[in-house]
């Protein structure tokens, strides 16, 4: 069976749109609707959206510190994963390069730790 190489893209586009619109309208048509306070508020990744900064509310900096630390380790794993998969092909050079990468990532982590960045209170 011979088909155009871009045919999967068309299918993907079609089902993607179908899923998006289907979910939105299907939910509105079939679902039961209840409202409460939490649903009416803006979604802010687990922190209280009000009062906002200009109304006197403050987002604790330690929240960002933890989030940034998560990103650092997240990206670290992102780089380690393809390395681990191709480990048997890439040789000693890449092991050393990866070790260097881990050391470099650790230095700011040690800095943050020793300066009390990991103490919540």
């Amino acid at each position: 069976m011979d088909y155009h190489p871009y045919l999967p893209v068309v299918f993907f586009l079609f089902f993607g749109l179908l899923f998006a619109f289907g979910s939105v309208f299907g939910g509105a048509l079939l679902g039961r609707t209840t409202y409460n306070r939490a649903k009416a508020e803006a979604y802010e990744c687990g922190i209280q959206p009000t009062p906002q900064a200009h109304e006197g509310g403050r987002v604790p900096v330690k929240y960002y510190l933890t989030a940034m630390l998560f990103i650092v380790f997240d990206v670290e794993v992102l780089f380690l994963y393809p390395f681990a998969v191709a480990f048997d092909q890439v040789g000693l050079f890449s092991v050393l390069a990866m070790l260097l990468f881990l050391v470099v990532v650790s230095v700011p982590f040690v800095y943050e730790w020793s300066r009390g960045g990991l103490e919540w209170d």
Partner: protein
């Protein structure tokens, strides 16, 4: 992919040693920040960071010449241009670091915030001030930025160029937000710089992707080869070149990508502004020269007119808007926009004289900018910098030496003969004229005349104006004095005897491809 084995690239670590020294110095600096007590941090960080840069400069001078060549899978080109500009970045950043260490006669720890996380005006801030807190993280941040700049001028690959761009930019975004006084203005500057900087990085990346689509490679040599042989997808080439140019023109603050410059130069801590103005220009113009001259030289008919128009706009807009400024830091910011235009005049020439005159101009601009901003940081009123022109009135009678130095630097910025400003402008304009860009040189000369007006207004205020109330000039520390005196001496030396440095620039102006 199936059978192809991974081959480790040949890396000439000796040739990369100057950059490695700077990065290791930065990492050691971060570690010191973690373990040294608050009292000892400054005393450790200043010598550590200056020694790192001096060591890197020594390594560059001793090893650079004999280790020229392409390395790390041809992604790094250590040729005459790269080595000269790396050396220039190192020298200028040493002066910049010395100016950053200024402590205003013990009146304040330094120009940097007591506690970056505290709300300006809050009780936490007062407490941090009481215990004498300051942000000594600026030293490792500066080292990281310098390392990125050194890589930026040597990058021979669009992807590595992007990595270097981010390494040099991210510390600068943070440094801009760390002023001790007028903290909100500083944080605003930092945010603006960050947002616009990420935006321009996105432009650069999009351009790099288009060029990759065109040439099938990120290497400059491969892109140049693809243009020569003509792969027939010119629709990708021209937008790619122009979008990459946008990213680089943003970094140097050329019109119409200059909007961040005045606000960031004004808001950032003044010694950081000096470092940023001088060293970022060197790095960004170095990278621009390599991209335009090595990678896309074959598409010159497309990009040369665009760069020429940007140069003309930068000179005109920078000069005209500097006239209406009332703040010394903003005058210097608009002057830097005009200077970006002057330097672009050299870039447009597209021959060996274009490279050497651009490098020479970068040296002259760097040596006059760092001391100028170092002096701005010293003129104070009520504990903060007195940056309004009116507050500088009568400075000549109160502190004749500082006023004399600043007057001389202003004359250099205006391009008066016997200063390096004149020889630098002469070099770039004659390079442009010899390649048939006379109209650009005419605009350049007229723009210089216009900028001279605001500099002389400032000079007249300093020497003939009535003394302004409570403006004081802090006695500079010996380190700041060294930075100012070296800058002034170099400005004079390059104005009177430019030939040694011009010869150096000419003899190193060839790119390895």
């Amino acid at each position: 992919m199936g059978g192809s084995m991974f081959v480790a690239p040949e890396i000439n670590y000796v040739a990369l040693l100057p950059m490695i020294i700077v990065f290791v110095g930065g990492l050691v600096g971060v570690t010191v920040e973690g373990f040294a007590s608050r009292r000892t941090r400054y005393a450790v960080q200043v010598p550590l960071s200056v020694a790192t840069l001096v060591l890197a400069l020594v390594a560059l001078i001793l090893l650079g010449q004999d280790n020229q060549g392409l390395t790390a899978a041809d992604t790094v080109a250590l040729d005459g241009v790269a080595l000269t500009l790396q050396g220039l970045v190192l020298v200028l950043s040493i002066l910049g670091l010395l100016a950053m260490s200024e402590r205003f006669g013990g009146d304040q720890p330094d120009a940097f915030t007591q506690s970056g996380v505290s709300t300006p005006g809050s009780a936490e801030e007062t407490l941090a001030t009481k215990v004498g807190a300051t942000t000594t993280e600026i030293y490792p941040l500066t080292l990281m930025s310098v390392g990125g700049m050194m890589l930026f001028v040597a990058a021979n690959d669009l992807l590595l160029l992007f990595v270097a761009l981010e390494i040099l930019s991210l510390p600068l975004y943070v440094l801009s937000g760390l002023a001790r006084r007028r903290r909100l203005l500083s944080q605003e500057a930092s945010l603006k710089y960050f947002l616009l900087g990420s935006f321009s990085s996105a432009f650069y990346l999009f351009g790099a992707v288009l060029l990759y689509g065109y040439a099938g490679s990120m290497r400059f040599a491969d892109i140049a080869a693809a243009i020569t042989s003509g792969v027939g997808m010119d629709g990708l080439l021209v937008p790619g070149v122009l979008l990459v140019a946008v990213g680089l023109l943003f970094k140097v603050g050329a019109v119409p990508f200059h909007a961040w410059t005045p606000d960031v130069y004004q808001g950032a801590p003044t010694p950081v502004t000096g470092f940023m103005a001088a060293c970022t220009k060197v790095a960004a113009f170095g990278a621009m020269l390599r991209v335009l001259y090595v990678a896309v030289e074959g598409a010159r008919l497309e990009w040369q007119p665009v760069i020429a128009v940007v140069a003309a706009l930068s000179m005109v807009v920078g000069a005209l808007l500097s006239i209406v400024q009332t703040d010394v830091k903003r005058i210097l910011a608009y002057s830097s926009i005009a200077h970006a235009g002057f330097i672009l005049t050299g870039v447009v020439a597209l021959d060996v004289a274009g490279v050497s005159s651009t490098m020479f101009y970068l040296a002259t601009y760097g040596f006059m900018t760092i001391p100028a901003f170092a002096i701005v940081a010293l003129v104070r009123s009520a504990g903060t910098e007195a940056t309004l022109v009116d507050q500088w009135a009568g400075l000549g009678r109160r502190s004749p030496w500082i006023a004399a130095c600043f007057t001389f630097l202003l004359m250099a910025l205006a391009g008066i003969p016997l200063t390096s400003g004149f020889t630098g402008k002469f070099a770039v304009f004659s390079a442009a004229v010899s390649q048939g860009w006379a109209w650009l040189a005419v605009i350049g000369v007229l723009a210089s005349a216009v900028t001279a007006y605001i500099y002389f207004t400032l000079v007249v205020q300093m020497w003939l104006g009535d003394e302004a109330g409570d403006t004081v000039v802090v006695r500079p520390s010996w380190m700041t004095s060294v930075a100012i005196l070296v800058g002034v001496a170099m400005t004079l030396a390059l104005g009177i005897m430019p030939s040694p440095v011009l010869d150096l620039a000419q003899s190193t102006a060839a790119f390895l491809r």
